[in-house]
Symmetry: none
Subunit: 131 residues, 4 copies
Amino acid sequence: MKLTLELAEKIAAAAIQKASEIGVPMNIAIVDEGANLKSFHRMDNAWLGSVDISIKKAKTARFFDMNTGEIGKLSQPGQPLFGIEHSNGGLISFPGGVVLKSGDEIIGAIGVSGGSVEQDHEVASAGTSAI
Amino acid sequence: MKLTLELAEKIAAAAIQKASEIGVPMNIAIVDEGANLKSFHRMDNAWLGSVDISIKKAKTARFFDMNTGEIGKLSQPGQPLFGIEHSNGGLISFPGGVVLKSGDEIIGAIGVSGGSVEQDHEVASAGTSAI
Amino acid sequence: MKLTLELAEKIAAAAIQKASEIGVPMNIAIVDEGANLKSFHRMDNAWLGSVDISIKKAKTARFFDMNTGEIGKLSQPGQPLFGIEHSNGGLISFPGGVVLKSGDEIIGAIGVSGGSVEQDHEVASAGTSAI
Amino acid sequence: MKLTLELAEKIAAAAIQKASEIGVPMNIAIVDEGANLKSFHRMDNAWLGSVDISIKKAKTARFFDMNTGEIGKLSQPGQPLFGIEHSNGGLISFPGGVVLKSGDEIIGAIGVSGGSVEQDHEVASAGTSAI
């Protein structure tokens, strides 16, 4: 299955609804199978610095086909991937980037930034439920 | 007037409809008053290289409060602004970036990329009609 | 309220006066609501490397609407935002960046660099008292 | 003679006064002998994209100890310095960058951006008259 713009918009809408429910304005980026940006939405009053972070979270998740928080565990001082954030023009390795799957097939990723990392992950996960 | 996400989505929808009518899949980026990305949509089968171009067109239009094609006339060899594209991390100075206005007030800009520059400009202009 | 150049100059003057009182030459950057540079002053004999740091501190504070030292607590190894400095072309997450507010409204941020982080924060805070 | 902050502020004030007289809001950057930023002012309603351009003009003028328009003549297609703008993280080679001199000694440079290149150069030149 391909990540169409129609599907990306459904995913973004589900994420925005969750963000509205928890009362935290978010930046929401979605990339496709090729890790190229498909859609982006900045909710009103969401952090400006999270534009770039949400996009980098989505790319990071698709770059390594795992949620960004998993990479962050491996990139701590003393861990095997320490410093990986220096690659690819900058990665973000804390939670909020989640792989988008259709069954077992990875079709892209969503990156969310604007709240605590737990909130970011919750909103990103809500987006995936729209697939 | 502030460029809300709701308004940005209306502008993007009007641009997407025009792109569909002329049968050219487009990348559509919208920035706010501060030249920060507000929304982005890549239509299915639109050029991947136009993700960055559409965003740069929107920023360029807001950076100088004029449509990008106007800057391009001035940045040709021998013209007054030759080489301006080297600033601001890269500008795009051919048509497709259009200022968003509410009356006389500039509230942001839209950048479109995916077809000929005439088509890009036509689709961006269609977006502005939604304000 | 908009951050005018007149107001930015008052803020910078208050910061420079405090820096003079404590005898530490400083770099002082001010950004507006859109995180775009509004004014910059490098006092005589202030560190050259702090030109960029002061600008990044101001941007970082406005990017996340909090003082830079708060972000630094969260970006330590093992903390939730470890590695956030890799975003937005480079952030600075130690003290010296302070949000500028008019009542509850955020109108920009000031970034100060040139002394200890405590001194930087003190001078930035002195700047805010001019609003 | 060293370019003190006091002198830089006098130069900036003279430039701002000229910009006000001709009714064009400008970005005004001043660098010192080491081509490092000393002061910057963005007048209200001046172009956002000219923040970077004014700084690059000031640096370019000091990098080569000549006004930026002189470099632009040499960087046209077919001329000896074609493409020089790719160096130093991006140069700006059209008018508006002017060397600051005390007698025969170069003490820095001023870069102005926000109007036509003739206006930019006029305002930069007005700044130099304050030395």
